[in-house]
Symmetry: D3
Subunit: 229 residues, 6 copies
């Protein structure tokens, strides 16, 4: 039987916002290249960048009833996460539900399904990442779990995990690891800034990262075109 779990813990807003500033690619690297959703989960408009606490929702194919249930559990700073129990491209979210989510302080949504009303959602500035854009409507016959762990687009997500989404896609950080990952992400960013400047000035990565010796040990050889490649 479907359940709704109330009063699930959230991640500290400062950690959430810090991870949001770091962005998807940096956070993904900072936690050891894990946590990325499938590449077919794309934003409906660009640029877009949000971060928030996962408000999770399992849905039956062609049935968006539990999203209505989820809205009541929303808290400001949440990001709706919708995982179908079997693959479905239907438009589970439209502008009415988006109004309702926004009224509750939800910052956006990530769906491993379709979305619709994207012109209206774009005008509202309500950011959505989805598998597809599809106007196909849904029914309300089979409720699913709300605020339980789900696998969404290949990644396990618990309520209150941090969802970071931008033009590169979506990454999830476990609530328990948010502090450490943020520290690692910020260290990485500081490190990248100086490297970026040196590369922009024409220094080679081969030298900056001291790669030549290791490349030679892997057998890399340089030949001249004139010698007949």
């Amino acid at each position: 039987m479907p359940i709704v779990v109330r009063n699930t813990p959230r991640t500290d807003p400062e950690l959430v916002d810090g991870l949001g500033r770091a962005g998807v690619a940096t956070v993904h690297e900072a936690q050891g290249r894990t946590g990325l959703l499938r590449a077919d989960i794309r934003p409906i408009f660009r640029p877009a960048r949000i971060a928030g606490n996962a408000l999770t929702c399992a849905v039956a194919p062609g049935d968006n009833w539990s999203i209505h249930v989820a809205v009541e559990q929303a808290q400001p700073g949440d990001v709706l996460v919708v995982a179908p129990t079997s693959p479905c491209d239907d438009g589970y979210l439209g502008d009415l539900l988006a109004e309702s989510l926004r009224a509750r302080g939800v910052r956006g949504a990530v769906l491993d399904t379709g979305v619709r009303d994207v012109a209206s959602l774009t005008k509202m500035g309500f950011a959505v990442w989805s598998k597809v854009i599809y106007a196909q409507g849904t029914v309300k016959e089979t409720p699913g779990n709300v605020q339980t762990p789900v696998v969404c687009a290949g990644v396990l997500i618990h309520p209150g995990d941090v969802v970071i989404a931008d033009d590169d896609g979506v990454v999830v950080v476990r609530r328990e690891q948010a502090k450490d990952v943020l520290a690692a992400a910020e260290a990485r960013e500081a490190n990248e800034a100086s490297k970026r400047e040196r590369l922009a000035n024409g220094e080679l990565g081969l030298d900056l990262y001291d790669m030549r010796g290791r490349l030679a040990s892997k057998g890399l050889r340089y030949v001249d075109y004139a010698d007949g490649s």
Copy 2:
């Protein structure tokens, strides 16, 4: 042998424009969640919204000859509909054909194939929905039917049916049903406006749609996280 059907009936322009204003998602709901083309038929630029009478065209793979034949049958307010007889991603339509269609008053095109010259089409503002963007050229060896019923991207379309296309995709309304569907769409829109306002003010869908009893009868239970989910 291929045929061209002349003097096919059109749908009343007021109905067409009314359906265009309602948009794809609303029209699709208003006619009982039918008539949507496959989700991979996408606009080449956004935002885009058109509605018009279907000017249908069957094409052989890699051969766009019948589009030239179709231009002659075009009337102002038409939307070109291109259905390949076997799947093909080639660029059946480019800017020259678009100029020709526009000169005849055609409002845009829907192709279950590829399209090309999209930078130029975007500059022209000629709206196209297609399966893919692909520069691959086509030949003119095998003409196909023009203005006969076709299945395009999974939907049966007759000449003179109403094609509505926007950022959500494409929906088709049978000519005979255009009046009823428009009435249903307008009723739906009126109904949604007030709901939208109530949801934007924070009212829950659970209450607005009176869902709690039915959810309980489906077995939905609420538990507290502290009790161990």
Copy 3:
């Protein structure tokens, strides 16, 4: 063992820029409808248009090491071409590598893999065509060939071949054929300009291209709807 070929020949910059002005669809037609990369290779922002000498790079799955090696071989006016040795969607290129490539005068990149940092790349105006946008990071363990012939997205590309990329996709012209293809492309463009004007004025392609006789010989028949299609 992996090799890097140095001092490969380039194509004359005037030919390159001329082909770039002609654009993908025209160049593809001008060389007999050949040389187009697969349709799923798409630009990360639009509009975008570049042309340059191919700087080729073979990469192992999940490993972007040879792109660092390729940067050293870059010359102003090059376009990086990345071909994986087995299919991979990882984000082989991000903003640091793009800074490095830009510092060397590279005009953009074409990858039959993923790309990341697309918000940043867009802000930089560094044009990239790729199979997918995906933040997944890569390792540096297995170098691949640089500046050897590769098959990228279905097309054989030699170092110094001309890569033309725009909103329609990517086409490649062999270095040895660049002059002839440019001449054919320019002839085609001159021819199209007058046709475009005539079509825009309402002349039919059926007449402009004198198609009616050949259509009739293929058996095309015109019937009237009233006679029962």
Copy 4:
């Protein structure tokens, strides 16, 4: 509201069986290369070959209720045709439903969805063509139309049209055209038998079909490798 249409006409069993003997490729050619379902509709075991009257059934995503409704409308010699109202890969049919269909004389099934229990169906010899094999179960909440025209895998199918399915896929012949198509198919088969023998004896298609002149007129040239291709 969903409807069930009773007492729909069937096609004469002799025509059905004749078309079945001709097979998919021949029938498809005999009716002018039309009527083929999408190529991803594949048999669950091979070899398999059936033909029968279409017993059509529209289903909601994740909901196979109307198949139960369809069983009651079945007549001996029917083939079940299942078309989802939006794309769905769930396993709409398993061995219990297959027993029920077989008890009514149904010869097999064609589904633009998933199927399950394929080991059991194979043991029963109940032939099924489907988009995918997937054990995902379905609900019974939303009935759909039975014995109305549907678009299944890209083809319009009416109740009582002839469905022919074999290792090559599935083709549909309109009831009204079954007699003519069968005649054309049999003529084609007679013609092919003699050609097959001549080709098997080493005669070239170039000669048998008298293609050399037409190829030359298309510009085909023969060159010798030694002259440097």
Copy 5:
């Protein structure tokens, strides 16, 4: 840093074998329609049916090193589960690794990647479910985790969970739930046997499941074809 977890708990072999007898579709239903891997995970030969304890293994793209590490952790009755950290179709498993796994008592393998040497694996009778068959070789540069929880083909799998695989695909049962799920599966099977017989005798599901009233309450109507559908 990658880790190998030793001495992970297994599920009782009687439960494992009982679930194996029930099969994928039944087990999936018995645990509330959960636990199914994506439908593109298919057996390399049919019929095939295995059940065993999950021996989990995370792999880098194009790198099968951790499978070698996993072999040492194998126990008789295990099923190897391979989850790539980003999507990859390479052939991670061939006949040598299969020999090694079989020597340790491993019953088969489930890979969300490619597999190779399938002719040899078929001859050995070593059952493998994979996303694709692909001969592409892999490197041994980047070890991944062994015997940690993984998401494989969309499903969270812990070491020692029960993996059931047959011609319908793959389903996973959590170790803690194996006993309850087996009981539910056996109850379901007992129930189905009698239904199957009644359906085979021509009884309608509409009657057997007492559906007519509920269908009517959903608005299902019966009309006669002669009345004009």
Copy 6:
């Protein structure tokens, strides 16, 4: 204009047959993990294994005319290779063409398109690898090149290169490299036989390949489940 190149060189039959005995996976490894066609090119029946000289053929979408032209250029021991100039799933080859090819000593075919008449081809034992099985017929309007280099399913193939195809897919060896690759393949096979026996006897790959030190240097750690993974 299309050309046919006559009298192209072939590879020595002993090399061809030796490579065929080695099989796809071994040959692919023996030539440095190159030359594999895309994984979606699959045999129409299994088991199947052939090797032969490439008889290449470029085809327009939906047009198989040049296969007829190719038949005349066939020599015993050839394998037909069909590459479309833009992607197409049509059934380019059926049983009549197969009879014709077989009469000329052609051993099988590899098509980056569809194939049809697969029941008949299976009965004939004529092995075909293709992207899809699809009955869709083709026209004969636009001839393409025969016996020129083509890119087929992602790999450059010259006439007379060696095509090896088995249940794992298809690999190509350049004519000039056939001798060296065969030698490397045979060395590899000899080496694998002894390894296979040791692995089958329970020896671990970790020991056989002496991996433990290198794994440790990569940071691999062993932990015990009881310590809380």
